[in-house]
Symmetry: C2
Subunit: 222 residues, 2 copies
Amino acid sequence: MRIALLGGTGDIGQGLALRFARDTDHEVLIGSRDPEKARDAVDTYEENLESRGADADVKGFANEMAADRADVVVLSVPPYYAGDTVEAVADNLDSDTILVTPAVGMQGDEDGLHYHPPGTGSVTELVAERAPDEVPVVGAFHNLAADALSNLDNELDLDTLLVADDDDAKETVRNLANEIEGLRALDVGPLANAAEVESVTPLVINIAKYNDDLHDVGVKFN
Amino acid sequence: MRIALLGGTGDIGQGLALRFARDTDHEVLIGSRDPEKARDAVDTYEENLESRGADADVKGFANEMAADRADVVVLSVPPYYAGDTVEAVADNLDSDTILVTPAVGMQGDEDGLHYHPPGTGSVTELVAERAPDEVPVVGAFHNLAADALSNLDNELDLDTLLVADDDDAKETVRNLANEIEGLRALDVGPLANAAEVESVTPLVINIAKYNDDLHDVGVKFN
């Protein structure tokens, strides 16, 4: 399977790229608006992976080309760009491409970060609204700390929560997520349940802010 | 210390009463609008605790009297009654009484439960608004499944999240929560951060709904 990480030079994109490349046999495509930047990121990721003896099957492209080649397209872009990025690659998506969205809208003040969803109720639902009708959308990887993912020395013991408008697509992403070592994917139903999933992202950041012994914190349900 | 559980005949009240009575040396006061109902609940709780060889220091009162005698007053009532219950016991609270609120506003549909806060932003903040100014307010115990608490055979391995408008009060509740076996209290800052904490309650219920192997699910941050 080919997994494209659009905005894959950013922090959550880097973390997912390194984990998918190290822990799975899938091909990882790094997308960026600037393909040169994507290829530079690939060099860094490959160096990191090879220093650990991991096979690095990572390539860099412009976002549109990465989306065009991929079976699963992860929108690892800031929330403000999620909708526009979907529209930029819309012609490269079809009913066989699964669109995955991990972005969360937040606003900060002196107290901490607060959940700040768009008018659609969640960034996940905004992505579904802006995507072509036939493209299945899965919300996933929302609550993972980028630094916890990017540091491959860090052994994960975390859950990631899935919402989707298509059961087959959700199952594919569930299997993909479960292939990452130490990550367990849990089902949280349809896209309408995305807000409560996204809202955990500012929460885990606030927990890290107020508890000295917890950094890059994630969540586990039991 | 004396801990009053107002609405302590309800499901979350029962769970907290049993755990505080079994795991700590504090005196547990069950409050209810109907003191007879409170005393009936105490009989059931004591029977449960004594059958396990636990010392049961539990007494039943009308809410007002329970609040009057307590150092810590837990509003274990449904969210719609939280504000009115605060006002009903307001004369029995003072600056030495810590008011603890675990209630969460939710609305359900066929997809699951959704976070539905009051206009103040959260039930926690609503309680603070309705409480006398000098009474410190702590949000805690929001995301614990009542059945997981009430079944004393169930070993907990869960976090509870604290927000508060007073640091000393927060520290007192943190110590109390940590006395419950298998429970760890984490700081999430001031009351303004309550919404993201409360929002985890519908989330854990949705997770239990969509994952057959997870019942009465709680949360742990790591």
